[in-house]
Symmetry: C2
Subunit: 344 residues, 2 copies
């Protein structure tokens, strides 16, 4: 089997870093069964998107685009390298709220171009394609939907008459640092949304579908919630493999435990795999295989017991080679299981 | 006579610098007949305004606001001090046109706030008032109109089928540096515009109206073209005095000769005064008095012959004291003519 078309469902930082390793491995020929010219399509979460100061901001699309286009600030993991912050300082001087969002000057140019194209009537998918002409990310980058979908989080608030308050996901994540428990996650507009052009085809026609170690609730979870996407994953002829974002009982990128807890899922590698579910034996499952970190090797049998292929390998994306090795292990899990079982 | 209410019809740089000197003189008590607590209302030209990259830009309003609020870049005479240019560089990297407009990062914050307020339904006059809460310019700053009015310039273009091309005034001024002849000036939307709230009242209820040395065609000329403004100037009980922007046969701020030529007015101090006209003896005139530079003293009699009070004094706004002296001379021309005649 030669894999020439790979589709990845991605959030922001975790997905972007995984994609960087995957592309590195493909180019180096170290991903088993994947031809060096393989095309990668990324379906990115857009439920983190927000309008702020009249500008349309798409954090996950931009993180993928900047990371793969070599424009990301590597230390922060988001936004632009060599950033300046004049606009943010000036908006604060005008007393304009909110001030907690990290809006750099270089980044703003992206939002200005995007907003103007949206105002001119282009759908987000066309805007994203236009922006990628500059960044040349080496993947086809698709928003999960051209429709407005926004994740909100309900938190306890004793000062509110109802005892709770609903904030945009970005406010929960950036301003509140996900430090207060999330009572529930409400994804406004999700049920009425449609997949962006090419999304369902990219899943149906892929040779391999990968769920990278992105947030299973507010990143991959929202993509799966776009009507049609889950069914496309369940029916594609391509194997579907996921990598656990939870390592040793905590989320690698932090803060996601609040999200898992809010939907009643235990914060463990196995529990996230089972939450995604086996597509052969469950009615909602989307996976064939689930890769966990070596520290969670004791959970492999539990995952296998739920019908999924599973292996335990190092899952820390410490550098691009380590990440490429993760990608190779994930691919091997669905193409040549024996070689990965040996990694336990 | 004690002057407590002064209304100034202003363009950008020339008007802003004049206002700086006027306020300085008022505070110092060196403007004859004007009480130190006198209130100044500025009616600013908005026909230079443009939409660019989805942002509403008001060059003259901002130049007045930044200059009087001590935020202006003194060397350039426009835009913000300590400016950064990240957004402009990024827009160019995206290949977004146009690239010739000087759009600094700090400046963009102003346009972002303005655009968002306009999108929310606030009229430009309310937006301007809100922006001025930060800048505290020491004047009441009014746009000439809340309606969209845009000056365009027709230039010869051999490549065009019609032999001419129409460009936005900013493109003519900034990109083409007014170096090609202007065949005509077309102020789109002017006839259908209305004065912004407070404009006609500010003229009618003033103790003194001043036309600073702004561009007589594309700055003061467009303000006068807003239906009702010329009539308000002609009927106000306040004296109306203007200062010549043309000194020694050329426009102090440069490039304006193209504008004068396009409307068939000779580039001389006297001709500009006569173009504005005496309100007592002509059907369209708006002036009682016209102040020219000492180098144009030989034109004083011609101006007086047209019915206007006139004097010749130094009119170079080289520093705030020199500008305050100009303001004092202008006021003296309509309050105590004798003292100014002595300046010739």
């Amino acid at each position: 089997m030669s894999i020439t078309r790979i589709t990845v469902l991605s959030g922001g930082m975790g997905g972007a870093r995984f994609l960087q390793g995957l592309l590195h491995g493909i180019a180096a020929g170290t991903v088993p069964g994947v031809s060096p010219g393989a095309e990668v399509t990324v379906v990115a979460n857009t439920a983190d998107d927000l309008w702020m100061h009249g500008l349309k901001i798409c954090p996950d699309l931009d993180t993928v685009m900047y990371t793969l286009g070599d424009g990301i600030d590597l230390d922060r993991g988001w936004g632009r390298r060599d950033e300046t912050w004049s606009v943010k300082a000036e908006l604060a001087a005008y007393g304009v709220e909110p001030t907690w969002f990290g809006l750099g000057d270089r980044d703003i140019a992206t939002h200005v171009v995007r907003t103007q194209m949206l105002d001119a009537g282009y759908p987000l998918s066309a805007v994203t394609e236009a922006l990628c002409r500059r960044w040349q990310p080496g993947v086809r980058l698709l928003p999960m939907s051209d429709d407005r979908v926004e994740t909100h989080v309900a938190i306890a608030d004793e000062a509110a008459p109802s005892g709770r308050r609903v904030v945009h996901f970005q406010e929960y994540w950036v301003r509140l640092r996900a430090e207060v428990p999330a009572e529930s996650v409400i994804v406004v507009g999700l049920d009425a949304s449609s997949p962006a052009p090419g999304v369902l085809e990219a899943i149906a026609e892929a040779d391999l579908v990968v769920l990278p170690p992105s947030n299973p609730v507010v990143s991959v979870g929202t993509i799966l919630g776009v009507p049609g996407v889950r069914e496309a994953l369940r029916t594609t002829a391509a194997p579907v493999v996921g990598l656990s974002p939870v390592v040793g009982g905590s989320h690698v990128r932090g803060m996601a435990h609040q999200m898992l807890t809010s939907i009643g899922v235990e914060v463990s590698a196995a529990a996230v795999g089972l939450h995604y579910g086996d597509r052969a034996t469950t009615s909602e499952g989307v996976l064939d295989a689930w890769l966990v970190d070596e520290r969670d090797a004791d959970q492999v049998d539990r995952v296998r017991g739920a019908g999924l292929a599973c292996a335990a390998v190092p899952l820390m994306m410490s550098d691009v080679d380590a990440t490429a090795a993760m990608a190779a292990a994930a691919v091997a899990l669905v193409t040549d299981r024996g070689s990965v079982d040996g990694a336990r």
